[in-house]
């Protein structure tokens, strides 16, 4: 019935710091199909990293998943036993982290770090794993892979370390890849290379990919679908072209307007969104964007808007907003 690889329902994650509880993720639901690439977009602190890392339970120790169903290939990852969970993490789901400088263990050789997963999950022998690791290094574009297996992370540049991270993430040929802001810590030219690499890998390996980024420009031309997050909520979900051509949520609209464009029909003013994201100390009982939204009406302050479809025949374009921006009328 579904070819949904991952189906997340009502995920809620909170952080406890001494007595303060921070609601980072406030009940989001989304899914991803096999072979699909999903972009998760939003500003810093909106909960995009936390929500995706919650899927594989890699949130910081002060965080707990309060609620939700995380169905991966039909199994609820929150309910399966430890052993099964470990055989999924790293094996069927690979993760690429944000900062390649700190994400590799400086005390261990690169070869060990890549082959670990292979040895444990795929039961390869050390030699086989090393051979495969060299192949992986070649795949991600590192020259002299065999020699470099014996080197340490500090002997690699930032961009190359990120390639190593990617090699680690894809080593067991996962069904799903979660890329948490893979290029944010790199400079622009390297960024382009890494994104190119991810693009290539995607077509070669047919993996589903979740690409988390705060950079809207990055997802254009890369992903199939996009979800936009704000303050721990998903506010809009659409196919990528729909999102750019026909953004519905006021936040999305502002985001798009604030992308600097080199060329354009009119040199539009670079808009910044006034105000700042709210402190997540309470789960808001109203639309989280209301304080900054210029379309806000009374209803926006009374209840959190649910996600509703705005596309004619399917659910492909959904938005969580009480206001239909065209008519300014409550839908």
């Amino acid at each position: 019935m579904d070819n949904k690889l991952l189906d997340v329902k009502n995920l809620e994650t909170v952080f406890k710091q001494r007595k303060i509880i921070i609601h980072a993720v406030n009940g989001i639901s989304f899914s991803i199909k096999k072979g699909e690439m999903l972009g998760v977009v939003g500003e810093s602190g909106c909960g995009k990293s936390v929500s995706m890392l919650s899927i594989v339970n890699l949130i910081p120790p002060s965080g707990t998943i309060k609620n939700g169903q995380i169905l991966f290939e039909g199994q609820d990852l929150r309910k399966i036993n430890k052993h099964d969970f470990y055989s999924i993490r790293g094996n069927k789901i690979g993760i690429i982290f944000q900062d390649p400088i700190t994400s590799l263990n400086p005390f261990l050789k690169i070869g060990i770090q890549i082959s670990e997963g292979l040895i444990y999950h795929k039961k390869l022998s050390k030699n086989q794993a090393m051979k495969r690791s060299a192949e992986l290094l070649d795949l991600v574009g590192i020259a002299n892979p065999k020699e470099r297996l014996n080197e340490y992370p500090h002997q690699f540049s930032g961009g190359m370390r990120q390639r190593v991270m990617i090699a680690i993430a894809i080593s067991c040929e996962p069904e799903l890849l979660i890329a948490d802001e893979p290029t944010t810590a790199l400079d622009v030219t390297i960024q382009a290379q890494i994104m190119e690499l991810i693009k290539n890998l995607r077509s070669r390996l047919d993996t589903s990919i979740i690409l988390i980024t705060h950079d809207l420009a990055l997802v254009a031309g890369m992903v199939d679908r996009v979800i936009v997050m704000y303050s721990g909520f998903i506010v809009e979900e659409a196919l990528v072209n729909d999102l750019y051509d026909n953004p519905q949520h006021p936040y999305t609209i502002s985001l798009l307007k604030s992308i600097p464009k080199l060329r354009g029909q009119t040199a539009s003013k670079l808009l910044s969104i006034e105000g700042s994201p709210p402190e997540l100390l309470e789960k808001p009982q109203f639309c989280p964007f209301a304080p900054r939204c210029k379309y806000n009406i009374e209803k926006c302050w009374q209840a959190t808007p649910p996600m509703r479809s705005v596309s004619e025949d399917n659910d492909s374009h959904k938005v969580a907003c009480w206001v239909n921006k065209k008519n300014g009328v409550e839908k």
């Binding site: 594989v56 890699l58 969970f85 470990y86 055989s87 999924i88 993490r89 790293g90 094996n91 690979g94 993760i95 982290f97 900062d99 700190t102 994400s103 590799l104 263990n105 400086p106 005390f107 261990l108 060990i112 670990e116 997963g117 444990y120 999950h121 340490y152 500090h154 991270m165 680690i168 993430a169």
Partner: protein, 319 residues
């Protein structure tokens, strides 16, 4: 690598030479004429005959200029001759040979305990961060850190022998495995162990929050493997780098400890020789002491790059 080693050894020689020179000069110009001291200490009524003193001094070469005497000393040293004790007349080498093994045994036993138990306690404390186990271990480590051996030793001695009455008077040397050695060993271990506990604990806490541990977890490998493969080296690395400090602490402790418990080791020898201005012994001990410390620093420099690959890169830069 060997070049690096040779480099360090070469640096060590002038350092020790200078230390010896300084100490020699101090003793030479300060402590007083050794021959006269011998006379002053000699029992009975040996007449203080200035001519005899002068003759003895001449014979012992004490009228030669400072540098000449120093040079003589060094040339003998290189051949392994430490000279003879002014007090007992015996060869310094033999005195040290008798005392050294005792201190060595205590030092090694203490060192082993300190490292193993200290690291384990530190790890336990870190794993139970801020809970009662951690608070007890950390509090204990913090508390005993400053208390000197000659305070904790006697206090514990009073406690165990008089108050609780479970052991005999721990005085003198009865071998490393005697029950009477337990207390001195315990006292010797406590203070440096506090250092190790704190190092191991802070290292583990640091490691646990590192991104690369998150990466390791993301691979789905079991926690045991993460502990042994990913965490061990980052924890041991700072502990090992403190070995030099630990050695100095043990040496200092040995001196005081042996006085308290009457153990005839190197420490006791040192105190005796200093209070009696027996300067061949003093010099020999200073030489050995500095050598031990410098050697252990050298070993740390060798071991550290094995544990931490970044260390080698740094070393090559700075040398």
């Amino acid at each position: 690598m060997w070049k690096y080693l040779g480099n360090r050894l070469l640096r060590w020689i002038p350092t020790v030479l200078i230390v010896l020179l300084v100490v020699y000069a101090l003793v030479f110009f300060g402590a007083g004429d050794p021959i006269r001291l011998i006379f002053l200490r000699a029992p009975g009524d040996i007449a203080y005959n200035p001519e005899r003193v002068e003759a003895m001094r001449e014979a012992a070469g004490l009228n030669k200029p400072f540098l000449v005497q120093f040079w003589n000393y060094i040339s003998h040293l290189v051949q392994g001759d430490f000279g003879n004790s002014l007090l007992t007349g015996r060869s310094v080498g033999s005195m040290i040979a008798k005392a050294f093994p005792i201190t060595l045994q205590m030092g090694l036993a203490a060192g082993v305990f300190i490292t193993i138990i200290g690291t384990i306690l530190g790890i336990i404390a870190a794993l139970n961060h801020n809970q009662w186990v951690d608070n007890i271990i950390s509090g204990f480590a913090m508390g005993v850190w400053g208390v000197p051996v000659f305070v904790s030793g006697p206090l514990l001695m009073i406690f165990f022998v008089k108050v609780v009455r479970i052991m005999d008077v721990p005085y003198g040397w009865h071998g490393i495995f005697s029950t009477r050695t337990i207390l001195p060993l315990l006292v010797m271990t406590i203070t440096p162990m506090a250092l190790v506990i704190r190092q191991a604990r802070s290292a583990l806490l640091q490691v646990l929050s590192e991104d690369y541990i998150r990466t390791a977890r993301s691979k789905g490998i079991p926690n045991i493997q993460i502990l042994t493969r990913h965490m061990l080296k980052p924890i041991l690395s700072p502990v090992v780098s403190q070995v030099g400090l630990i050695m100095i602490a043990i040496l200092n402790n040995a001196v005081l400890l042996e006085t308290v418990f009457g153990i005839p080791g190197v420490g006791n020898l040192a105190v005796d020789s200093i209070t009696t201005s027996d300067y061949p012994v003093i010099l020999a001990l200073v030489f050995i002491g500095s050598t031990v410390v410098l050697m252990s620093n050298l070993m740390v420099d060798l071991v550290l790059p094995i544990l931490d690959p970044r260390a080698l890169a740094r070393k090559e830069e700075t040398d």
